[in-house]
């Protein structure tokens, strides 16, 4: 189980739909979600506010704004969510071991060796 899958398994019933919503947010290049990329380090719901801990695959990632915007937009569509606070985390760094099995399979289908 990847760290993200573990966090998801421990999510409260109010947080579960938010993880599902994040599955709709795809990487700007490859057809896999930020969840399957293993970018989500933590998710907590506090009333109408969602706290998200997120990393990127590299510090020079050209898609940071993109991904943050897409995540905010999608989470704000969830019932009762009016605020999204995102903390960017660089430690521990992202490695390919954070990809889910589905993520690995999708990348391989696109010709990426992982």
């Amino acid at each position: 189980m990847t760290p993200a899958q573990l966090a998801r398994a421990n999510a409260s019933p109010e947080e579960q739909p938010l993880w599902s919503a994040l599955e709709d947010v795809t990487d700007p290049e490859f057809p896999l979600s930020v969840v399957d990329m293993g970018l989500i380090y933590g998710l907590r719901r506090e009333g109408e506010k969602v706290h998200l801990a997120l990393t990127f695959t590299a510090m020079g990632c050209p898609c940071m704004d993109f991904i943050l915007g897409d995540i905010r937009e999608r989470l704000l569509q969830e019932p009762g969510v009016s605020q999204v606070e995102i903390a960017i985390v660089w430690d521990p760094p992202w490695t390919k071991s954070r990809l889910t099995a589905k993520g690995v399979e999708r990348l391989r289908r696109c010709g990426v060796t992982v």
Partner: protein, 310 residues
């Protein structure tokens, strides 16, 4: 090198062409031509995009644009490298050719002067690249290029999504729709023209006969229109084209081809339709930024050569 008959037999059997030894003279000429256009297009998109990237509204936006530029240079490298494998002198091709002999679309000679024009270029020009290279990716009979395009296809997808996302963002800003409309007004027809001569006038039929690509110019133009026009419509932007359900295709609502004033970035619709010979004349003369953009790419090479000589 093999005969035309031998290469056509190979292709009829569903086998790819893998090297120079498996090509006929016509196949080689055709693949060199299409690779040169692709390589030049990717290469010159870099200075063209960089020119506007300097107007990025934030550091992160600038990093995104630089990521795209880096991708484009990588794509150019793939195509130039393949040309080298086919016996072309790569250094000469990139650094010693006259700017006006480069084969990229005329659109890149017209400067993108603001961030809004860069993101519309991502949504329009990169979409054209995505359509054209997607077609090569799926249909090309030249194996090495087909395999290399897996990566290119994904990256071009990111570029056009970058354009779309920013267009959606800008359209919500005060005055944003008007800014976008001004860019769309000159860039939409310029991208329609990008796909080249209509099928009735196209000379190089070997591109289809030898499976260097799968769709004709007009088919590819329609593919582009089928996603570019709806994107603009959903953002409330006017485009000079509409879908004709009866004919099952997009119809252009302006004289095509048409005269273009590159200095003013304005189509001279009022003058009516012109001939393709006149368009070809404009393309061959190149546009305002051709010498500057190609010169910028070649400068370091030239200076280094002079330094070595002295």
């Amino acid at each position: 090198m093999i005969t035309e008959e031998a290469v056509l037999t190979r292709l009829a059997g569903g086998r790819l062409v893998e090297s120079l030894e498996q090509m006929s003279p016509i196949y080689l000429e055709g693949i060199q031509r299409i690779l040169t256009v692709s390589a030049d297009t990717e290469l010159i998109s870099a200075p063209a995009y960089y020119h506007a990237a300097q107007d990025a509204p934030s550091a992160n936006a600038f990093v995104s644009a630089m990521g795209i530029i880096q991708d484009e240079l990588g794509h150019a490298h793939i195509a130039y490298r393949l040309l080298q494998d086919l016996g072309v002198n790569k250094e000469q091709l990139i650094y010693e050719r006259r700017p006006e002999d480069f084969k990229y679309p005329y659109a890149f000679d017209v400067p993108l002067d603001a961030w809004v024009e860069l993101v519309v270029a991502n949504a329009f020009y990169d979409r054209a690249g995505y359509v054209l290279l997607g077609d090569v990716f799926h249909h090309s009979t030249f194996g090495p290029w087909k395999r290399a395009l897996v990566k290119v296809d994904r990256e071009e997808n990111f570029h056009l999504r970058h354009g779309e996302t920013w267009m959606r963002k800008i359209v919500k800003e005060p005055g944003g729709r008007e800014k976008l409309q001004r860019a769309v007004d000159w860039m939409f027809p310029l991208t329609v023209e990008w796909f080249g001569l209509p099928d009735t006038l196209k000379k190089h039929t070997e591109q289809l006969n030898y499976g260097l690509k799968g769709s004709s110019n007009d088919q590819l133009r329609q593919t582009w229109l089928s996603t570019a026009a709806p994107l603009c419509e959903t953002l409330g932007l006017r485009v000079p084209a509409h879908y004709e359900a009866g004919e099952g295709r997009y119809i252009l609502d302006y004289p095509f081809p048409c005269a273009f004033d590159a200095q003013e970035k304005r189509w001279r619709f009022e003058e009516g339709q012109i001939t393709w010979d006149e368009v070809l004349k404009r393309w061959k003369a190149r546009g305002p930024k051709n010498a500057e953009f190609v010169g910028g790419v070649q400068r370091g090479y030239r200076e280094w050569a002079e330094m070595v000589r002295s």
